[in-house]
Symmetry: C2
């Protein structure tokens, strides 16, 4: 599939790496075209033949799936500025609405970043995914021999299935986490994991797994 | 150590099994003494020499660590009725404040069961633990070859350390999850896991692991 990733930071790089590994074509939109071009060239160098191109926003937004690989505030701003162009599309929110001290969330208690973004994009199919997986672990795809679990939540079944399919192609384990409301718990899970990195010395290399 | 477990249901049985495996002595207080006696006898039969006795509430509450292995509403009621006797003690809250359809929490958004119980027990040292581990997995102590992760949160460092020590003795991996506020995320984590049991056909045999 052709997937657009908005954001060429560490998370954009990690998700692009996985999608390219799964044989998908990535249109990477950066804050500047130069930045996206640098990241795309690096990823192609790491994986010769990888279908990753830096594109302009106008070109990138033609794809049906758009991943907002942006911090929460930037994702909100981007959604608000591009709501019309994102109408009808599957928009993947990966954000964690962390406060400045990384020990709490800035969203209203009982709400989630994904639900806030869905409210800004009422004509898009918003999917929560990749918010509990750290950037470096996405580059590798696995931690300690375990394929990453990627929890995917949405109120749109077809959009969720498409994202779960991308995740599976990427060599990860997609888990259907239910409706978009479950983003409240997924964002809490990410917060919990983030608070544990420093005390446990994990260096953002850990992963949450549901083992059975 | 001598630990009191209030509640002889599945969770009480699971935690008692682990503590006995770790060489600790358990005073089991049931809704009725008959019920606790039956469970204690069963556990001793499974592990000859296990220090598990059914006791009355009056006898049980002499121990310094009291695990409330009760559903949330019952734990609140028990705490309110016994606040004076629990003063100065380490009180372990394992509850998940699930709604009737098991797809949401009855606590106020942004609050946790553990914080509510701590408010009822201002003179006790409240510790959150064992709320993300299913009863059957506690009996076994492991899932798919992985020792269970037990997340422990409290505002009292010494009480938390004591519980982490019990967990480690029990063959489980205790993780210091920080202050009692983290119970918000731990209870969200349990909710997320519970919502996934039916769709994924996990039969309450799964476990959350932080792998690294």
């Amino acid at each position: 599939m052709n997937v657009t990733i908005v954001g060429a930071g560490n998370m954009g790089r990690g998700i692009a790496t996985r999608l390219a590994a799964g044989g998908h074509t990535v249109a990477l939109v950066g804050r500047t075209e130069d930045r996206a071009a640098t990241v795309a060239a690096e990823l192609r160098a790491n994986r010769p033949g990888a279908g990753i191109e830096a594109v302009s926003l106008d070109t990138g937004l033609v794809n049906d799936i758009v991943v907002l690989a942006l911090p929460y505030a930037a994702a909100r701003d981007f959604a608000a500025a591009n709501a019309t162009r994102l109408a009808g599309k599957t928009v993947v929110d990966i954000s964690n609405p962390l406060n400045g001290s990384y020990d709490g969330l800035v969203t209203e208690p009982g709400k989630s970043a994904a639900e806030e973004i869905a409210a800004i994009l009422p004509k898009s199919k918003v999917v929560k995914a990749f918010n509990t997986t750290f950037a470096g672990t996405l580059v590798d795809g696995a931690v300690d021999g375990h394929a990453l679990d990627v929890f995917v939540a949405s109120n749109d079944g077809a959009a969720k299935a498409a994202v779960l399919s991308l995740v599976a192609d990427s060599g990860l384990r997609g888990i259907d986490a239910g409706s978009l409301e479950r983003s409240r718990q997924l964002e809490g899970l990410a917060l919990l994991g983030i608070t544990l990195q420093m005390p446990l010395g994990l260096g953002f290399k850990s992963a949450w797994k549901l083992v059975a």
